[in-house]
Amino acid sequence: MPQVARSPKVYDVCVIGSGAGGGTAAKVLTEGGLNVVLLEAGPPVNPETDYKEHLWPYDLPHRGVGIGGEFRHKLGDEFMAPNGAWEIDGEPYTAASGSSFRWFRSRIVGGRTNHWGRIALRFAPVDFRARSTDGVGDDWPITYDDLTPYYDKVESYIGVFGTKENIPSAPDGIFQPPPPMRCTESIVKKSCDKLNILCVPSRMAILTKAMNGRPACHYCAQCGRGCITASNFSSSQVMIPPAQATGRLTLITGAMAREIIVGKDGKAQAVSYIDKTTRSEQQVRARAFVVAASACESARLLLNSRSSMFPDGLGNSSGVIGRYLTDSVGSSGYGYFPQLEKMPPHNHDGVGGMHMYMPWWKFDRKNDFLRGYHIEFGGGREMPHVGEFDAVCERAEGYGLALKQQCRTKYGTFIGFAGRGEMIPNENSYCDIDPDVVDQWGIPVLRFHWQWGENELAMAKDMQETFRTIVETAGGTYYNRGRRGSMRNNGISEGGEIIHELGVVRMGNSPKTSALNKYCQARDVKNLFVADAASFVTNPDKNPTLTILALSWRTSDYLLDQAKKGNL
């Protein structure tokens, strides 16, 4: 038996993970008077030194693409905030034979909120009532009305811009004013108007007015690099600091949770974690536990927490943990818009992301598939980056002054389109523990099984047709852009690629088909809660973060209430 360092202290709550779910739990619970220990597998983030806002490409010898150009045409570059990766040294995951899956993980304080696109969309009432609506999948154990007060609280606290539109598929929230349209967006909007496709101001967690000591956005379009002024939302800059200010938060970084230990009474009593710095095993004890390690990481932790009482993993008497894995359906393409050649040089930056988007607009008719998708788009006169002129060079060919001028003429005339649609859970898409592989900390790793269903394939086809129609209606030329150059299955994304993977520890009303009750409390273990997107019953086209925040706030309120009543 190796030496395990056990802290004598017993915290009120141990929160595992400091992203959207964990950061919110830490804030709400500490402000509610509880002593919280927060475990984060990565290092702290330090905006002063980690953020590369406002640097130019030529400020770095590799112009942003890293050693040997490794980031050329890849997600992320040297300018991005230290916010995660598809592969982490020493921490693998596997895919079952015949499956492919990509898993983006952020080991850092704030988790993937340091990375996300700040797209903050409420789920719609219908999204909570899938089976009741179309007979497929399951309803949530809660309704839109149950979550509305928490959407309100979250938006009022983090700041989201948008406009009231009364669209059934995209409920309005509490909004700051949106920024005005960019040229690219006004062109696409006109095209959408002709086609009766809704195109409205986007809803983004970026301040257009100062709020809670955070100044308004300064419109440099560099949210992905991290924001020195904290004008966009991240857990690390907006949720963790108030929790720390209470004096009741103990943040332990470099702490990789391995197992939740259960006492004789069947309650969780400690977390065993690896202190990455010393490679030693530690334990921290608490009266309640909130797992928010990111959906699949939370499933992994619970599946790895096996005991004689819980031989199939903690809280897994239903056997559903790891099941119902979904990601958003993605497909993308881009258009060339000749009218943009006439645009004089002007500052086109805006916020770090879209000012306009297309919410699901075909909710009132019969389609070739169930559920829906929304469209994100962007482009134009952005900061030039390595790889930007490949397409122009490859089409124009030649060399010399003509090429140089052609690049300038075409600069800023392209707009990319990306669909984000709802996947319906299927029995071939899930994750489990790989029986043969452990990570460098000795923790068994996840193995992914993945298959898109017919509904998703039909949705990707519709996306491609829609993008083409929008571009051509605006007088542009459409180019599709498949995954790794392939337009197989209408360029549908790889599983996990959209980074909306969720649903693997789901909530529900039935103990047979869900692991959590309607408060995201483990049915088998009363003092165990899940506060990330693992609990989601469906994966609507809306990006999950806002709902993670709202649901975590609700779960934390419930936990506070239970703690006050002495029920934990």
Binding site: T49, E78, E87, V392, G400
Partner: protein
């Protein structure tokens, strides 16, 4: 940042940072700025501005420079790929990337061998009209369709053209040439300026 840290330390930390597969270990902002300042200071201290290539032998590097400036030349509005530092950028990336070494190092050797076959001289020693002739052949993919012996040259030139565009349009002069006006602190975002027909 204290000046006691050597340039070697900084570059080593930069290399370690970006070489890791995880983006978590990125280049610290100040280290990057510091390294940049030092490189600039070194260039300023050397009046010839000569750059010691990290991968390409001197003769090949000379060829690379000629090719870069031919692809994106200076004109009355701006400098070209040389002033933009494209050859240095390409050499740096190539020194760290085996695939680039094959495609660019091998490509330049292909070009010299082809010029020697055709004109009896390596590319840089060819007469301007000979240089123009061979470049025009490999600058268009349709020429390789007609003459398959040109296909490797076309592939090489296409890749070098992309990287030269990278080097030029991400430089200070290239960004100015394009007319990118962002990366500023704005109090409010003005939206789209009025343009007839847009």
């Amino acid at each position: 940042m204290p000046r006691s840290i050597s340039r070697r330390d900084i570059l080593k930390s930069l290399a370690m940072g970006a070489a890791a597969t995880s983006v978590l270990r990125v280049i610290p902002l100040r280290a990057a700025e510091y390294a940049h300042e030092m490189v600039a200071a070194e260039k300023a201290a050397d009046p010839t501005g000569s750059y010691k290539p990290k991968y390409f032998p001197e003769a090949q590097y000379k060829t690379l420079r000629v090719l870069c400036e031919t692809i994106i030349p200076a004109d009355s509005e701006s400098g070209g790929a040389l002033e933009a530092g494209a050859p240095e950028f390409i050499d740096l990336l190539t020194s760290e990337n085996a695939n680039y070494q094959l495609r660019l190092g091998g490509g330049i050797m292909w070009l010299d061998a082809t010029c020697t076959d055709r004109y009896g001289k390596t590319f840089v020693d060819c007469a301007p009209e000979q240089q123009k002739e061979i470049l025009t052949l490999i600058a268009y993919s349709k020429n390789a369709d007609k003459d398959p012996t040109l296909s490797q040259g076309v592939e090489f030139f296409s890749f070098l053209r992309n990287l030269t565009a990278d080097g030029f349009f991400t430089s200070e002069i290239g960004i100015k040439y394009l007319g990118y006006e962002g990366n500023k602190y704005l109090k409010s975002f003005p939206g789209c300026p009025p343009v007839p027909g847009v």
